[in-house]
């Protein structure tokens, strides 16, 4: 199976834990948001304190767990929001 590198933008506490606002996650072709969560937990264990609460967005909209990811999308990952 082909492995693709997905760039993931990070924000707030996730960004601070990873010490980067952009991480690269290795995923097989056809991988979904569920697979991304699993891969991030393996490849970026420093995100563990927030891992169960992370929200995933694709192309500036919240993603469903079964959404398929590819390198053309903008993928982002962040903890629950607290603006206002």
């Amino acid at each position: 199976m082909t492995v693709q590198q997905i760039q993931v933008r990070l924000f707030a506490r996730a960004r601070e834990l990873a010490e980067s606002d952009l991480i690269s996650v290795a995923l097989t072709e056809g991988a979904t948001v569920v697979d991304l969560r699993r891969a991030m937990a393996e490849q970026y264990p420093q995100l563990q304190p927030v891992s169960s609460q992370l929200l995933i967005a694709v192309d500036n909209a919240y993603a469903g767990e079964d959404q398929v990811l590819n390198q053309q999308q903008e993928v982002a990952c962040f903890p629950p929001v607290s603006g206002g």
Binding site: E16, V50, A76, S82, G83, G84
Partner: protein
């Protein structure tokens, strides 16, 4: 006349007079302005400042979506929303939402809806700078320690 909605994420102080002026119209009998400001005390703890961070592109998109939703529920004439990011001192304005409509009830309800939903879904985060020198991201659903 079509009044375009205004959405802005800025790192400068919010000019709430300008935000309010953007929505005023002869077609409207009501303008409601909501402002969020930096509060000193939270559950007995003292804040000295807040740091706000945004995912600007998605924040724009989700705010536009909320304005569209508001328009399906109330006859809103115009909406202007500005959220500040960066380091804010006590009392400073973090967000301003101005809504105009023909009658006051609609403007109050739409304004309430917009700030409530903003706090639930718009990708913006605040970090507390406590008076004891510690800092802490506010990520509401995470119950750690």
């Amino acid at each position: 006349m079509i009044t375009p909605d205004y959405i802005s994420i800025i790192d400068q102080p919010i000019d709430y007079t300008a935000i309010t002026e953007r929505v005023r119209s002869n077609e409207c009998g009501a303008v409601v302005l909501f402002m969020g400001t930096v509060r000193e005390m939270t559950a007995g703890r003292q804040t000295v400042a807040l740091d706000y961070e945004a995912y600007p592109e998605m924040a724009h998109q989700t705010l536009q979506q909320l304005i569209t939703e508001a328009r399906t529920q109330w006859p809103v004439h115009a909406v202007a929303i500005e959220h500040r990011v960066g380091h804010l001192a006590l009392g400073e304005i973090s967000v301003a939402i101005a809504v105009s409509s023909p009658h006051r009830k609609q403007a109050f309800e739409a304004g309430r809806f917009l700030i409530d939903r903003l706090k639930e879904i718009v990708p913006i985060w605040k970090k507390e700078n406590w008076s004891d020198g510690t800092t802490e991201w506010e990520h509401p659903e995470i119950k750690t320690k």
